[in-house]
């Protein structure tokens, strides 16, 4: 059983929903990333989504774009991100790490070499925003061969027939994008999301995470009631952006504690 699967199965036994915060590796500075990751875990992260900075983040809103730009100012690329995961693993062998990013940094290394290096760093899952299943058969095979879960996005416009195609390629969990638009966009319609999640569940036994548009304790709680995992990205990055070197970790800890309480109360 993969690390991701085992976390989901433990939480299920406890009747709990996973909280998955997202941060962009290297934001605000590479020297903070590993301590930020440990802080997230100490304050309730069940898994971590670690963003790989990219020069052209087409699916991201302004908040995560800025995070990517801050990280790229310090030349944080995929190789540096894998090093950060390695360092994190020196003291945490339990928390699943899911890399989230775009295809080109992976293409630059090559699918096989990437899978080797991700495995060596002990990465658990990979979300590649602009790799729809039709275009990444070989890549998915490589990940599987290295026991890394390929995690795919489902959107409000994904037809049931396509959901079928995607869940057959995915493992670990599937990630339902709760609104049309980029990360950090407008309010989510929880009734609509609930009905979509219910219909996805009819097509797969994989856990369903929900993200995009979760901005506070209330939306986190509402989402936790219907999903297996709640992903919080832009809100987390905003807290990082609003902090300085001295209060960075404590601000992130405070936000995490609020979100954790909300998710657990669902």
């Amino acid at each position: 059983m993969s690390r991701i699967q085992s976390v989901f199965s433990t939480l299920k036994q406890q009747g709990k929903t996973a909280l998955i915060p997202y941060i962009t590796a290297g934001d605000p500075h590479p020297k903070f990333t590993v301590s930020l990751m440990h802080t997230l875990v100490e304050h309730g992260a069940d898994m971590i989504e670690l963003g790989v900075p990219f020069s052209d983040p087409m699916a991201d809103g302004p908040v995560i774009q800025r995070a990517s730009e801050r990280a790229l100012m310090h030349k944080v690329g995929l190789t540096a991100v894998l090093e950060m995961v390695k360092t994190f693993r020196e003291t945490d062998q339990a928390t699943p790490i899911i890399l989230m990013g775009y295809a080109n940094p992976i293409e630059a290394i090559g699918a096989v070499a990437f899978a080797d290096r991700a495995k060596a760093a002990d990465v658990d899952g990979v979300i590649t925003v602009d790799y729809p299943p039709e275009e990444c058969g070989g890549f998915v095979k490589e990940l599987r061969a290295h026991d890394i879960d390929p995690v795919f996005l489902l959107s409000p416009t994904t037809e049931p027939k396509r959901v079928e195609l995607i869940v057959n390629q995915a493992s670990g969990f599937v990630y339902y994008v709760s609104l049309k638009g980029v990360t950090g966009a407008a309010n989510l319609d929880i009734v609509e999301v609930a009905s979509r999640v219910a219909s996805i569940r009819q097509q797969t036994s994989l856990p369903v995470g929900v993200g995009f548009g979760i901005r506070d304790a209330a939306t986190a709680k509402a989402t936790a009631a219907i999903a297996d995992a709640v992903v919080v990205g832009s809100r987390m990055v905003l807290a990082i952006e609003a902090s300085n070197e001295t209060n960075l970790l404590s601000n992130v800890a405070t936000l995490m504690a609020e979100l954790k309480a909300a998710v657990d109360a669902a």
């Binding site: 900075p53 990219f54 020069s55 052209d56 983040p57 087409m58 699916a59 809103g61 302004p62 774009q65 730009e69 790229l72 030349k75 690329g77 995929l78 190789t79 775009y102 295809a103 080109n104 940094p105 992976i106 293409e107 630059a108 290394i109 925003v129 602009d130 790799y131 729809p132 039709e134 275009e135 795919f152 996005l153 489902l154 959107s155 409000p156 416009t157 994904t158 037809e159 396509r162 995607i166 994008v177 049309k180 638009g181 980029v182 966009a185």
Partner: protein, 400 residues
């Protein structure tokens, strides 16, 4: 010879092209693919398109024998396909009309576009006004500053111009922002991409709409010189004017197809926009796989060209394919050589060419010298240079 039949059903040109987009856009692209398949051979649609090309754009654009230029250069005869004479001053309008007519049929009241130099933005704003569609154009804030007259033209035509502040604040970032708009407003919005890049079906669809350039050329060359040219030369940024003139010639033997990229300050300086000539690594950007200027981490690097329309780190996937199968050749011309060709055409022929097209002219001059007087080069003069006079004046330290 097997007839050229690209791309495949999912938009692949060999390993290039494809549909590399976020899941949120997959359904929209599928809808577009289906609708384009439905209309691309529909006689009523094509008749409407042809009517607008004739009466609104002024097609067919003539081919002109640049005799004085040919004599001055010495060597092959240089002919110009006069896309600069189109309404709005460039080839871009051929494509925006086709896509806007499709938008109308799909019931989308709003169109969006990205633009670098502003030519595609102006062409989109023009057809949007003509068809009564709402129009939003994304333009890098650096380009908004550099291309103020085109920004004003778009506004006169009723479009909203949104300056893009992210990334390098140029064309590629405008494209990112237009994609973000499209993801968000996909129910009522048609994204008119300006070049043969982007996810499938854009590279194929834009090529098809631009192919009118090559289709006309084949007829006109027969009429004028009784045969097809020995070489067809066109500039390549994303590559839509080149694809438009190359495509009908792909199956014609003995016609060399030559794409001219921007060598900027020189290939050896790295300050260029010539991924094909430089043999840049293959990667994924803006929905397709192609040659891409990038660093070791796979991040896109900033490009340089004097010509905003060629200042793009990637290239249309079909050009990547034509390079690999050796059906087309790709070369690059520096800022300085393009400027020299610009002035040359102004003085010898009374035509002010776009800086983009000046790259094709520069290479044609070089090539003509190696050929005999009875040989023929056809250059796609993709646009007129009125938009560039500020840039040219600035280089000469002249304030207009």
């Amino acid at each position: 010879m097997q007839l050229y039949d690209m791309p495949d059903a999912r938009g692949h040109f060999g390993q290039y092209g494809g549909t590399f987009v976020a899941e949120t856009l997959v359904e929209a692209l599928e809808e577009l693919r289906v609708m384009y398949e439905k209309y691309r051979h529909d006689p009523v649609f094509l008749a409407e398109y042809a009517y607008d090309l004739k009466h609104f754009v002024g097609r067919p654009s003539p081919i002109y024998h640049a005799k004085r230029l040919s004599d001055k250069v010495g060597g092959a005869q240089i002919y110009l396909k006069r896309e600069d004479l189109n309404h709005t001053g460039a080839h871009k309008i051929n494509n925006t009309i086709g896509q806007a007519l499709l938008a109308k049929r799909m019931g989308k009241p709003r169109v969006i576009a990205e633009t670098g130099a502003g030519q595609h933005g102006v062409a989109t704003a023009t057809i949007a006004a003509r068809l009564g569609l709402e129009c939003v154009v994304y333009m890098g804030s650096e380009d908004v500053k550099r291309q103020a007259p085109n920004v004003f033209r778009m506004k006169l035509l009723g479009a909203t111009v949104v300056p893009v502040e992210s990334g390098s604040k140029t064309l590629k970032d405008a494209l990112n922002e237009a994609m973000r708009d499209w993801v968000t407003n996909v129910h009522n919005t048609f994204y008119i991409i300006g070049t043969v890049a982007g996810p499938h079906p854009y590279p194929m669809m834009v090529r098809d709409f631009q192919a009118v350039i090559g289709v006309e050329s084949k007829v006109q060359m027969l009429e004028m010189v009784g045969r097809q040219p020995d070489a067809v030369v066109a500039c390549v940024g994303g590559g839509s004017n080149a694809m438009g003139i190359f495509y009908p010639y792909i199956d014609v033997p003995n016609v060399r197809l030559i794409g001219v990229e921007a060598a900027g300050l020189g290939m050896e300086t790295g300050q260029h926009a010539a991924p094909l000539t430089a043999n840049s690594p293959v990667g994924v950007l803006h929905g397709n796989r192609t040659y891409l200027m990038q660093d070791n981490d796979g991040n896109i690097i900033e490009t340089h060209s004097i010509s905003a329309g060629l200042d793009y780190p990637g290239v249309g996937p079909e050009h990547a394919w034509l390079k690999d199968i050796k059906r087309a050749e790709y070369v690059a011309v520096t800022d300085d050589d393009a400027m020299a060709a610009f002035h040359n055409l102004c003085r010898t022929e009374g035509i002010i060419p776009a800086l983009e097209s000046s790259h094709a002219l520069a290479y044609a001059e070089k090539l003509a010298k190696t050929m005999s007087k009875d040989q023929v080069i056809l250059v796609n003069l993709s646009g007129r240079g009125d938009k560039d006079i500020n840039t040219v004046a600035k280089l000469a330290n002249i304030t207009l």
